[in-house]
Amino acid sequence: MKIPLSRIAHTRSGDKGDLSNIGVIAYKQEYYPILLREVTADRVKAHFGDLVNGRVERFELPNLGALNFLLYEALDGGGTISLRTDAQGKTHGAALLSLEIEVGEDEL
């Protein structure tokens, strides 16, 4: 079945120059394999559409049941240069919560 990412994970995001990073954390350790399978760099890139001009890179933190995503060219120049309301990617984490993922009923 399809569920939003918000059912199994929470997020926090921030900035480094023109790059935003999103930490995605499974609510339970048993959800971590779902994150690994469903929340790929390509799907994150597609989810953000024209908000993110560059590539998306994914890192794994199995010890925390978490993934870290780096979104390049994601902040219209970043910090002081950006003309966006959210020049520092503070809301990118929340934006990712609506990502639709596919899970088996036995996985929840």
Binding site: R12, N63, T80, T91, S98
Partner: protein
């Protein structure tokens, strides 16, 4: 065990937080982080206008408020409030709190030495774009190295009550007391990494005690009295994150994980001046109410380079807004946007970027925003940036006329036309460690 608290996650954070930290429970060290990436350029400008300025002006009055308490309780304060004028900051502290002993850490400000460093062959290329510093040399407004914890620990060894630094890594302010108390050395990579992780968890203040936390946020107790974070560090590098009893907020592993992942890159290589910490080695455990234990942190030796934080004049920008209401609020806002862009075009004005957002529809979340059918109100937000200040200034005249000349029902222009602001941009770079010479002074 030593207790290190953070009472300020950035310059402008809650003014009462450090006062409450020293009053509401036991503490050995209080760290305060005042410097964001481009703060230094603002401080350089203030110093150019008045040689007695150039530091975080919130800091000396704070020490005035808590001086008696920290003397009685033997709490020592570490702050990067010095900005580009740590000695002036120290003198103002001494004026307001004459009984306090103050030491400063200097050597981070390389603006005066910049040409010599370039001449010596240091290219200081932009870490993001690869461009050499020489391409923007004449526009540089500030240049500082991120110092590590060892010079700060040296300042603690002078016996000073208050240590003031300029630019240093945020986590170094937390790591320095551990080095000072436990005798950790530069080769103790795992211990330095543990201290760095502890510093990273608390460096954004209440963001690890329930602030900006998604998990059950509606049930987090008393955000209005949120407790700021305290690390209880053991000599073996294991530590707990907690807060004073009776304060609001929440600390559990979920909350701490959010902060651990905040503003990091490759988690295996969290590169700081004192070590490289591996976040994939961190073990977290809930250890009672509002208390998380952390063990197992591993690290690698410090890099041979230090990071530089420079700022330079980039151009000018202005952002203006108009509000349109139901019905067809979004359609009205889009029509107004087309009119503004047509006017800019007719005037022959050129910008590096014209950016439009429909606030209430897609400003923050873009295409990830859930669709809204005929929203009750939409704020049209248009921003421009470019090198030509006059063009940006001319843009600021183009929004308010639409109240009479554009689609019906525009409002929300009460603040007048938008302000033209200078864009001071950030230039991250690396430099060999040997090129930077930190030093400590006790200020009388």
């Amino acid at each position: 065990m030593i207790r290190i608290a953070n009472g300020q996650g950035f310059w402008g954070d809650w003014l009462e937080a450090p006062v409450r930290l020293v009053e509401q429970g036991p503490l050995d060290y209080l760290m305060l982080d005042y410097l964001a990436e481009v703060t230094m350029s603002i401080l350089q400008k203030q110093k150019a206008a008045d040689p007695a300025l150039g530091y975080a002006r919130d800091f000396p009055p704070l020490i005035g408020r808590i001086a008696k308490r920290i003397r009685e309780r033997h709490i020592r304060v570490l702050a990067n409030a010095g900005g580009v004028n740590a000695i002036a900051c120290a003198k103002e502290v001494l004026r307001l709190a004459p009984d306090i002993k103050v030491a400063v850490v200097l050597g981070d400000d390389i603006l005066p030495a910049l040409d010599a460093l370039l001449a010596a062959g240091h290219e200081m290329r932009n870490m993001d774009t690869g461009a050499p510093l020489s391409t923007i040399r004449d526009r540089i407004q500030s240049a500082n190295a991120y110092l590590g914890a060892f010079p700060i620990a040296e300042a603690l060894a002078t016996g000073a009550d208050v240590i003031i630094t300029g630019r240093c890594t945020d986590s170094a302010l937390a790591l320095a007391p551990m080095i000072h108390e436990f005798g950790w050395g530069p080769a103790d990579h795992d211990l330095l990494a543990a201290g760095t992780v502890a510093g990273h968890i608390i460096e954004c203040g209440a963001q690890c005690t329930g602030g900006n936390c998604q998990v059950d946020w509606q049930t987090i107790p008393e955000l209005a009295n949120i407790g700021f974070p305290i690390v209880e560090m053991e000599p073996d590098g294991s530590f707990a994150v907690t807060k004073h009893l009776g304060t609001g907020g929440r600390i559990n592993t979920a909350v701490v994980k959010e902060q651990l992942l905040y503003e990091i890159g490759d988690p295996c290589r969290y590169v700081m001046a004192d070590c490289i910490a591996d976040f994939t080695t961190i073990r977290l455990f809930d250890d009672g109410p509002d208390r998380v234990r952390c063990t197992g942190v591993r690290g690698e030796p410090a890099p041979s380079t230090l990071k530089l934080s420079m700022s330079y004049h980039y151009g000018w920008k202005a952002i203006g807004a108009l509000v349109f209401t139901w019905p067809q609020a979004l359609e009205k806002a889009k029509t107004a946007d087309r009119i503004v862009r047509s006017h800019l075009d007719q005037l022959g004005l050129r910008f590096e970027k014209i950016h439009t957002e429909y606030f209430g529809v897609n400003a923050c979340l873009g295409t990830a925003a859930p669709p809204v059918a005929d929203p009750p109100e939409v704020e049209l937000r248009i921003g421009v940036r470019g090198e030509d200040r006059k063009a940006v200034d001319r843009f600021t005249r183009e929004l308010i006329p639409l109240v009479l000349n554009g689609p019906p029902g525009a409002t929300g222009y009460g603040e007048g036309r938008p302000k033209v602001r200078e864009i001071v941009a950030y230039w991250p770079a690396l430099i060999p460690r040997e090129a930077i010479h930190p030093r400590v002074e006790v200020v009388e």
